[in-house]
């Protein structure tokens, strides 16, 4: 295998890992908050990246990625935790399951109060999608610049990343429809776990944590929070059953 092929393959694989992370966030936002804000977020992040690349070029390697990871990780962590908490409370029967019809009726009654009613845009969905794609996109740019500049083959490294974009984007286009059919409350439960896990992973990386197993540790973090969430739901249901037994016995 020639060094050029290895370079393209390396850039392809490294970029794929980052793009899969971005795709996960975009799919999560698209399925739960709607595809419009998710895709506008992707578009805005890509445009921002294009401007950054055009303006800075190889100087992009000077961007403090750790600081950006801390910021994006902290935001995702705080936001994801809220999401997961609500999903656990719903699954545990403390909070009612999401009823879109009732919410729509109430939202219309309160028109003007919410961002979506005032501007027709879901800024929550947009911001999540934008941040995820911008951070991962920047990492892809850095991968291309570092792979390409070491051997003087920036074009080949960019071709590897472009191939990764085609493959990962294609997978995203294929799976977004089946994902849309998953019940909303189940999907929100999973999304809460994913956002919290990404927040912990990126936030930890940003403040200097070295994860055992590198990027693979993300799977362990996701598994850990899935377990914690399931234990909390089981506990809430057990307490509710106990309370109702005591109440009916009284």
């Amino acid at each position: 295998m020639t060094p050029e092929v290895l370079l393209v393959l390396g850039a392809f694989l490294a970029s794929s890992v980052e793009m899969v992370e971005a795709l996960t966030i975009v799919l999560a936002v698209g399925v739960t908050r709607g595809w419009r804000p998710a895709m506008i977020g992707v578009g805005a992040a890509c445009a921002t990246l294009a401007v950054l690349v055009a303006a800075l070029g190889p100087a992009l390697t000077q961007i403090p990625l750790s600081a950006l990871r801390v910021f994006v990780g902290a935001v995702l962590l705080v936001f994801g935790l809220q999401w997961l908490r609500k999903a656990i409370l719903r699954a545990g029967g403390v909070r009612a399951l999401h009823d879109e019809d009732a919410i729509y009726a109430r939202e219309v009654a309160l028109s003007g109060e919410k961002e979506t009613a005032a501007t027709g845009m879901d800024w929550y969905g947009f911001t999540l999608s934008f941040k995820g794609v911008l951070l991962e996109g920047l990492e892809v740019v850095l991968i291309v610049v570092s792979f390409g500049s070491t051997g003087g083959h920036l074009g080949l490294a960019a071709a590897g990343a472009a191939a990764a974009l085609l493959v990962v984007g294609g997978v995203g286009a294929l799976v977004h429809r089946p994902l849309s059919r998953v019940p909303e409350n189940s999907m929100k439960f999973v999304v809460g776990i994913m956002l919290t896990s990404f927040g912990v992973f990126w936030g930890g990386e940003g403040v200097g944590v070295s994860w055992p197993g590198s990027d693979l540790a993300l799977l362990g973090v996701i598994g850990f929070f899935a377990l914690v969430a399931l234990v909390l739901v089981t506990d809430l249901r057990r307490r509710a059953a106990l309370t109702s037994r005591v109440t009916s016995g009284a």
């Binding site: 935790l81 809220q82 999401w83 908490r85 656990i88 409370l89 999401h98 936030g203 973090v221 914690v228």
Partner: protein, 78 residues
């Protein structure tokens, strides 16, 4: 509502939501992890701390709601 107030409210709802203690808890955990990374590699600290904050937040919400108090989720609820 003024634009500035709307923007402020959006960021407050987005970041803090309805449990400001949980938000402060996870930021403190992140800060503690950052403080310890110079001498150690405390990779386990952040997941454990966040799980603890989540457990306390869920228990507090369950206590506040009491038995049989589930309501329809508010508009814009995640």
């Amino acid at each position: 509502m003024g634009l500035l107030r709307r923007v402020g409210r959006f960021w407050y709802d987005f970041l803090i939501g309805d449990d400001w203690l949980a938000a402060i808890g996870v930021l403190a955990a992140l800060g503690l992890t950052a403080a310890l990374t110079d001498a150690h590699n405390p990779w386990w600290l952040l997941p454990v701390a966040v799980a603890g904050v989540l457990t306390m937040s869920v228990r507090r919400a369950a206590r506040a709601a009491g038995p049989g108090h589930a309501e329809i989720a508010p508009p814009g609820d995640t």
